[in-house]
């Protein structure tokens, strides 16, 4: 079965690359083993929050020159990065995903980091945010003095106490309330499964979000800020807008435990955009058994399609990090399981992780070794028509830097560009 490009993995990087190629007239096939990191998204995309040495970044584009040469952004180069960064909001808009940046732009109109409120009550840098998330201009100054945090009665995946504690430390006076809605109460028949998406489904019904909105409006008299869990607008984010209009105070939505409602919405919309553009998406299927001859991938197979060989001119590996199973660790090695690509990790296993769970973890920085065009190597030999994108790419610790979505989108756009220009 022939395609122009086959992409392995179905997350953010894969979909961005697939949509770009498909819209440019290619026939693309995505093979996706299971759902992906977008389902854990905070609702905001990071481009660069910190340099590898820990220096905080205010304007990502102005900090690029401080990144090491093996960093994916350095490989792409400042000029191309500038183009992709400018293009990103309109690209997502064309896929039905509306993103906004911090209220005030940085130098040259390039983005400055905004700050989102985390479920732990701290502020974290972000580049672009989905409709749910509010981006503040400064991480030191919260422009409200009083906040009301509202949760659904019995919903354990939104810890209003943590948020109140974090905000109180920043001098915001917090009050916590819970609200009961009949249909949400129904979900509690099954306490273990009263989760974000379940509530979001119930809240998709007009009578429910209206009842919720008017209860919150009553509670919020005299408050500056109202904080709600991110459980609205799973199908259509317009509900978020309507709630903002109903409630007189500033309304902020804050992340819950996974699955992430804004993340799933984004995933569904990107997948739909890919399919509407004519792409083929194989859900729940795993890429296996590639054939690589003389430095070229000639075919791959999948678990579901068995003996049918899938061939293409170009192949893109977007199968994620350790978390997405794009990389696997054995007692002695970090391996890329589909092609056996060369990876970058220290041989002393003791240095891989820190026993302090919250400390920076070295393994987060391991990845596939790539050349300047994101082509990988097998046993030191370059593979010419295979490209690696997303969190699988080595050369950066994107969790630490806060560059997860940025690396995914930038590498996807860069590789799509290379494939289309035939480089």
């Amino acid at each position: 079965m022939r395609s122009d490009t086959i992409i392995i993995g179905g997350g953010l990087s894969s979909l961005v690359c697939g949509i770009k190629l498909q819209k440019a007239g290619q026939r693309c096939l995505i093979v996706s083993a299971g759902q992906n990191a977008l389902h854990f998204s905070s609702g905001a995309f990071g481009l660069l929050g910190k340099l590898p040495d820990g220096t905080a970044v205010k304007e990502p584009m102005r900090s690029l020159s401080f990144l090491p040469e093996e960093h994916p952004y350095s490989k792409i180069g400042v000029d191309k990065m500038a183009g992709y960064v400018s293009e990103t909001p309109a690209f997502f808009e064309s896929c039905g995903v509306r993103l906004h940046s911090a209220p005030i732009a940085g130098e040259g109109g390039f983005p400055a980091n905004g700050y989102r409120l985390t479920p732990l009550g701290s502020l974290k840098p972000a580049w672009l945010a989905m409709e749910d998330v509010t981006l503040l201009q400064s991480k030191d100054n919260i422009p409200w003095s009083k906040a009301l945090i509202v949760n659904f009665f019995g919903f354990l995946d939104f810890n209003s106490g943590f948020i109140a504690e974090g905000l109180s430390r920043r001098g915001v006076d917090c009050r916590v309330e819970t609200v009961s809605i009949g249909d949400v109460e129904n979900l509690r028949k099954n306490p273990t499964e009263m989760r974000s998406v379940g509530i979001a489904r119930v809240m998709g019904k007009e009578n429910n979000w209206k009842e919720f909105g008017s209860k919150v409006r009553k509670l919020s008299a005299g408050e500056d800020l109202v904080i709600l869990p991110e459980v609205f607008g799973l199908g259509d984010p317009v509900i978020i807008q309507w709630l903002r209009e109903m409630i007189p105070a500033e309304v902020m939505f804050v992340g819950t435990m996974p699955p992430s409602v804004p993340g799933i919405r984004t995933q569904m919309r990107l997948k739909k955009a890919f399919e509407v553009a004519g792409g083929t998406f194989l859900s729940g299927d795993t890429a296996v058994n590639p054939t690589v001859e003389d430095g070229y991938v000639t075919s791959i197979h999948t678990t579901n399609l068995g003996s049918i060989s899938l061939d293409a001119d170009n192949y893109v590996l977007a199968s994620g990090h350790l978390f997405g199973k794009g990389l696997e660790s054995t007692p002695s090695k970090v391996v890329e399981p589909v092609f056996g690509l060369d990876t970058d990790f220290p041989s002393d296993r003791k240095t891989w992780c820190d026993e302090d769970f919250f400390a920076r973890q070295a393994y987060d920085g391991y990845g596939v070794v790539c050349d300047g065009s994101f082509r990988p190597f097998i046993g030191g030999k370059s593979v010419r028509n295979l490209f690696v994108i997303g969190s699988e790419v080595g050369g950066c610790d994107s969790l630490y830097e806060g560059s997860g979505a940025g690396v995914a989108i930038m590498t996807a756009m860069s590789v799509a560009g290379n494939i289309l220009s035939g480089k």
Binding site: P259, S283, N304, I308, G324
Partner: protein, 414 residues
């Protein structure tokens, strides 16, 4: 250090992310159902300690496998659920469940009196009795039984010609082709013959999917063992593939036999396939050519049944139907129709079944296609009843759209 999983269903790989629950169509509508995470990996940890923790509400799972398709950790959630039901359920299937489970037996009994049965089961008073006495929902339209089955037609009209073909396939027709939709089987034989393959029938029994969902484990196992044995003779003996026209039959015989019923089919599994996959592979490799009619025109909406989503073979139907020159094909959003075999027949499920399928029905109505294409007969019943749009198996569409004479010539059959 432990390097490998201990369990075949990967349950210790669960990272508790609840993504499965987010994609489960039953959780979305039925508050009694504990949901895939709780019913699957979470419950399994408890059940392994003490079977007392088994929850009979696991019966609400439709076995649609959408949880497994979504799980980022490869946990075989629905397998966990149904093998737990098999091991621990103390529920004894009642008359209604036995009746619904025995799709083949029901057919054999109903057939000689088909016109009578059809008008009886569609009559209001009888539906009311079925509703009260047997908990089969009275709003449900029953598929019509055909008096003359597929096998009888095959023996009389087609069997003799099949020897003339040097290449052959074994056809697993399944219950619905035999009892309700013989036209699907006839279309299959016509298309296969035109592309140069003779059709052979074997002593098949119902694949057993309805027995699995209704908890008739021993019977399901007997069917699985029987079919696997019969296939073994033709697959390993004669090197023939076994081709089905229902994605659910194909899926059950490939994956549920080993994963839920513990029947080893490893030597035949890869040879069990679906008509569209079989034909596509032959066309793709150049072994077979298709010649379509010039004047065939249709606006078709394709619904990929859950079990075909799980098999991952919807692309073959899309590719084949998409090849037909006069067809405009729309792929419907991936959504369960809510029927899940015999699930939607049951009174306790009827309301949920309709609610699950609603987005699909609305999309079909808004597209208003000439007809819907789908590889599963129970989806067909549900969609036809709920939308009024006709649903055709892709093999029927192909038989209609192909110029069978020209195809036979192109494949040097005549």
């Amino acid at each position: 250090m432990q390097e490998k999983n201990l369990s075949f269903n990967n349950f210790e790989q669960c990272i508790k992310c609840t993504i499965c629950t987010a994609y489960c169509p039953v959780v979305a509508v039925n508050p009694l159902y504990p949901g895939p995470k709780q019913a699957g990996p979470d419950g399994e940890r408890l059940r392994l300690k003490n079977k007392f923790f088994f929850d009979e509400n696991l019966k609400y799972c439709m076995n649609c496998k959408r949880c497994e398709v979504a799980c980022p950790s490869g946990v075989k959630i629905a397998d966990l659920i149904h093998s737990a039901r098999r091991r621990f359920s103390r529920n004894i299937p009642d008359l209604r469940d036995r009746l619904l489970a025995n799709t083949d037996l029901l057919g054999k009994v109903a057939r000689p009196v088909a016109p009578v049965v059809n008008s009886i089961v569609s009559s209001k008073p009888v539906k009311a009795v079925m509703d009260v006495m047997m908990d089969i929902d009275k709003a449900r339209a029953f598929p019509k039984y055909q008096r003359k089955g597929f096998v009888r037609w095959f023996k009389k009209e087609a069997a003799d010609n099949q020897e003339a073909y040097s290449k052959k396939v074994v056809f697993f027709h399944g219950c619905s082709t035999e009892f309700q939709h013989p036209e699907v089987g006839k279309a299959f034989v016509r298309v296969m013959n035109a592309i140069g393959f003779g059709v052979k029938l074997v002593d098949e029994e119902c694949c057993g999917v309805a027995m699995i969902s209704n908890g008739l484990w021993n019977q399901a196992r007997r069917h699985a063992e029987h079919n696997t044995r019969v296939f073994r003779e033709v697959v390993t003996g004669e090197g023939l593939p076994v081709v089905a026209v229902s994605s659910t039959c194909a899926f059950t015989m490939r994956d549920e036999y080993p994963d839920v019923l513990d029947v080893d089919n490893s030597d035949v599994r890869d040879s069990i396939t679906l008509a569209e996959k079989f034909i596509f592979e032959k066309v793709d490799s150049g072994e077979v050519r298709l010649a379509f009619k010039d004047d065939y025109r249709a606006r078709i909406a394709y619904h990929c049944p859950c079990h075909n989503e799980k098999l991952g073979w919807g692309i073959f139907t899309k590719a084949l139907v998409g090849m037909i020159p006069g067809v405009s094909l729309t792929i419907l959003d991936s959504h369960c129709c809510g029927m899940a075999g015999t699930y939607g027949f049951k009174k306790e499920n009827y309301k949920y079944s309709q609610e699950i399928g609603r987005p699909l029905f609305e999309q079909i109505r808004s597209l208003s296609p000439d007809f819907v294409c789908c590889e599963c007969e129970t989806c067909k019943w549900q969609i036809e009843m709920s939308t009024g749009y006709m649903v055709l198996n892709p093999i029927v569409i192909l038989a209609e759209a192909l110029d069978l004479e020209a195809t036979a010539v192109a494949n040097s059959v005549r």
